[in-house]
Amino acid sequence: MNVPGSTVASPAASAATTPTDAASDLRAQRVAFAAMVAIVVLAPLVVYPVFMMKVMCFALFACAFNLLIGFGGLLSFGHAMFLGSAGYASAHAAKVWGLTPELAILFGTAVATGLAVLTGLLAIRRQGIYFAMITLALAQMVFFVALQSKFTGGEDGIQGVPRGRLFGIVDLSQPMAMYTLVAVIFLAGFAFVWRVVRSPFGQVLKAIRENESRAISLGYDADRYKLVAFVISGAVAGLAGATKALVFQLASLTDVHWTMSGEVVLMTLLGGLGTIFGPVVGAAVIITAQNYLAQLGAWVTVVQGIIFVVCVLAFRRGIIGELGHWLKKRL
């Protein structure tokens, strides 16, 4: 299934790099990161904090997904299961057990991580297209469990989740307190994924994506690398989902449904597969578009489908991939 030389990621990513290139790429990425921090800090002055928090949660979700497809070449079509299950777990912990928000988020993330270990062990047994189908089917199973379980509230979801007091001190019902927490989680999560990509582990992952048999012949245990990548990705997606449940004080079936898995694929594809900043930009564009298109009802699906088709046929590098290509930098 892994045809040598065929890559899912942007063509720019597979070009050979000299040390100076890498250094200048890193400088560009640092500048972009600084710009992103500035936007996160200044944005509440211009846009609704809740909107920004939504963007950041989805951006982190998309970064997690991108780690798998963009750098591991693994297309997961079931990432909603991590977002959704973590949301349910953290909502349940905060509402029913009365845990503080940081513990609720940690618990949600832990549940998603556990789920990622189980599903990852199964999914990595097949490659390519089968991997996508298996993750989709497993996520659908999680969806049905969420639909039928008592504690998820079925069609109603878990509503009225208390945001609580962070460390028992900071009252998160204050919008700016919540905003700060989400911003910190988002930036830390983003920096973590960025670090993973740049680490030796990330390099091996890319080697496996490019040519799995070669990587195995060099002595790397490809399955173990794929599993670790899958678990990291699921955990970060879970972190996003657990945070999102507290932001909206709601955990619902929407977040475990396959349409959500499709949306994160769309965000990443539009922003740029295998780029560092693409998922963030893609998430911001899609969430903004959804806000404006909300009154169009079912047309939203059609518009999303059209973006998919256009991206695949004519815009495979995505927004950040094209920008990076134009600047001759990997962003």
């Binding site: 079509f77 199964l122 189908m133 089917a137 049905f144 059609v302 998919f308 088709v309 991206c311 695949v312």
Partner: protein, 295 residues
């Protein structure tokens, strides 16, 4: 009333029948997916939407043109297949040199567009479709009543599946097809028009989905969402069976339908997920699928 394991036989056979009918659709749809995958190496995510289109073409033919079920059964697969040919020529054919995952993403986008368009036009609720008058009524089999239309679905899908198997495994056309699956360049060098064959194969696979849609119209309601969740189950069926063997897809489709029906009788809470659970077990024991060959 007689009982088996504490379940009335009427209920048991009733659920088994529903299971067989679901299985007929699993078999037809996974067969189409397998045929397309064999030659194009893509998973056709639009398959569920194309199944839905088949049902809608039948519905529209009846309500706009006054053409009944049998005409729909004959013409709808051609209409749906023709849209498939267009999709292949205009879009999919541009992606063959790229990673196969792009084909999956493209067909996923197309499925969103098609389902969204139909939902805008016809809403989310289902439209009823009349059963053909020739197939109303039921047969008394002694142990249960078999509604004629249900018997027809099972029989017709078996015939279509076996005919497809025959064409692919036993005819010269099928041998070209199998050869092109193995090595398209070589087959092309022998003077066979492989791109045309690819186009027609996609059209045929899609037409099978359309045919399944027409057959489903009188049983389930005709609704824009009818294919969306079904296709995910069919993906699991495909993973369980492995796409290497045509006969394998058929057998897996029917037997999983039966197992699902049995689950509805003995443990209804799990009937939604039983196929996914089986998928998990198969992945643990034989990752390549029951009839598949690990490459």
């Amino acid at each position: 009333m007689t009982e088996i394991f504490g379940v009335p036989t009427q209920a048991l056979f009733g659920q088994l029948l529903i299971g067989l009918i679901n299985g007929s659709f699993y078999a037809l749809l996974s067969l189409g997916l397998a045929v397309i995958f064999g030659l194009l190496n893509i998973i056709n995510f639009t398959h569920g939407a194309q199944y839905m289109m088949g049902a809608f073409v039948a519905y529209l033919m009846l309500n706009k043109l006054g053409l009944g079920y049998w005409w729909a059964l004959l013409l709808a697969p051609f209409v749906v297949g023709a849209t498939g040919v267009l999709i292949e020529r205009l879009m999919l054919s541009r992606l063959y040199k790229l990673d196969h995952l792009y084909g999956l993403l493209l067909t996923f986008g197309l499925a969103l567009i098609i389902q969204g368009l139909f939902r805008n036009e016809y809403g989310s609720s289902g439209q009823p479709y009349q059963m053909p008058s020739e197939l109303t009524g039921a047969q008394n089999l002694g142990f249960m009543f078999l509604p004629n239309y249900r018997g027809w679905i099972i029989g017709a899908s078996l015939v279509v599946c076996l005919a497809t198997w025959y064409v692919i495994e036993r005819t010269q056309l099928g041998s070209y097809l199998r050869a092109a699956t193995e090595n398209p360049q070589l087959v092309q060098a022998f003077g066979i028009n492989v791109p045309l064959m690819i186009t027609l194969t996609y059209g045929f696979g899609v037409a099978l989905a359309g045919l399944a849609g027409v057959m489903a119209a009188p049983v389930y309601q005709v609704s824009p969402q009818m294919g969306a969740d079904l296709i995910i189950v069919v993906f699991a069926v495909v993973v369980i069976g492995g796409m290497g063997s045509i006969l394998g897809s058929i057998i897996t489709g029917f037997s999983l339908g039966l197992i699902e029906g049995l689950t509805k009788v003995f443990y209804p809470e799990a009937s939604n997920i039983v196929i996914f659970v089986i998928m998990v077990v198969v992945l643990l024991i034989k990752p390549a699928g029951l009839f598949g060959v690990q490459k």
